[in-house]
Amino acid sequence: MRKVAIVGAGLSKFGERWDASFRDLIFEASSMALEDAKMEGSDLQAIYGGTMAPGRLIGQEHVGALIADQLGLTPIASTRVEAACASGSVALRNAYFAIASGMYDIVAVGGVEKMTEVSTEEVSFALGGAGDQEWELFLGATFPAIYALMAKRHMLDFGTTEEQMASVSVKNHKNASKNKFAQYQNEITIQDVMDSSPVASPLKLLDCSPITDGAAAVILCSEERARKFTDTPVQIIGSGQASDALALANRKSMTEIAATKEAARQALHQAKLTIKDVQVAEVHDCFSIAEILAIEDLGICKKGEGGKFTEDGHTALNSKISVNTSGGLKGCGHPVGATGVKQAVEIYWQLQGRANGRQVKGAEIGLTQNVGGSGATAVVNVYKRMD
């Protein structure tokens, strides 16, 4: 296995981008990433693109080739990867393998979702496909409802409160207010979350990540050639992925995402590190409870203590560990296929000291945790700046 590093990163502005098409979003993020790496498109040898549901959201499949064409990069190989909300991270992992294996030296990774072209009901149906269509969605389940069932059980087993869950959204909005790419630039209060409209008890509107248009891109390169493009490449030092049942009822536990634990175990083992070595983490807060589960399952705090840990401010910017400095899915937005790649972009900036206004002091080791569906796929990557 060869060492692999990120040498460039880019994002589109996240939000309700009525001005931009699927193609425009990809162009925004990828041209920024190429410019960042001071690289020509002709340097790229392959593309991996993560996107969850373009067929339902814009009526377009076969987007691998579409991306290559739109970026003027034909005839290089371009592969679309789908793993629900973890599509971006799985695309990144495949690009990592492609370089680590020696097959390619320079590969672009993109993540994109254009979600505002159809009605909210249609978006919900498309996202519902991340769960079990025949045994969850058919019965009237929605994604918020599935996470609500986990939240409710977490409250029973561990005494987690709605205010503690709300503190996740409050923190992430605060971080987002310092990120110009984020969908939301406004801070919110615990009371705002508590007063927001009920979606699926105990989850309210401000416990839920929004519908977002957006794209993210990173350029991966073999270690040998990485310094040609940047003085401070960020190496992927561990990468784990795990699967579980699509349907919540078929999992062993409802108060943990077992796939996160397994992916983290793999990634940290490869990196020869423990979670204590990580200063900055981007985790999958599609719902407030999801960030609580994530920090517990990653071992940042003990099982059951994630709510209190967040409420006590230990995951705020420059506290014990800075979690979701980008604003997370809640504050920055959640264009599902783009999210995993956006997490890598944020860690890249943090480890290079370029996260203006939200820089984590002394960030050496970063981690991303990206979940597909309600936990059927999880990807954890660990990153280190190459000095």
Binding site: F125, E134, T142, P144, A148, M254
Partner: protein, 132 residues
């Protein structure tokens, strides 16, 4: 698509009568049906077995924002039910007083309409549970 007639027909034993499977080798029960036992793999022998129609509420949520096809039911209760044999499944809770929908409340299966397709009027039936 959700209500494609062959799909409705194929799922009748499971959705109407909670027909699942059991592995005769390790006795693990599965709902919905599984083609093989994940624990025993090739050594297992999976046969049909009806699940108990009673259990208790393991977790629940009151759904206010309903998906397409369920709008008229909102708000409604969705739950994870733990059946008497320990197998869990997702179901709506109906015909029950709100105060009685709690962790551990005993529930029993009911036969109900689940969804109706807007386009061709196909109606899909299946299980919902009620607090007893």
């Amino acid at each position: 698509m959700k209500n494609a007639i062959p799909l409705i027909w194929r799922r009748i034993p499971e959705r109407y009568a909670l027909m699942g499977t059991v592995c005769e080798n390790c006795k693990t029960e599965y709902f919905p049906k599984r083609m093989f036992c994940a624990k025993c793999r090739r050594k297992g022998r999976v046969v049909e077995k009806q699940m108990p129609d009673e259990g208790k509420i393991f977790s629940f949520s009151e759904v206010h924002v309903a998906p397409t096809g369920h709008e008229s039911e909102a708000p409604y209760f969705l739950a994870i039910i733990e059946l008497k044999n320990g197998v869990r499944l997702m179901s709506q809770i109906v015909d029950s007083e709100k105060e009685k929908i709690k962790f551990g409340s005993p529930v029993k299966m009911m036969f109900r309409k689940i969804t109706e397709d807007d386009h061709d009027g196909t109606i899909a039936y299946g299980y919902k549970f009620k607090v007893v």
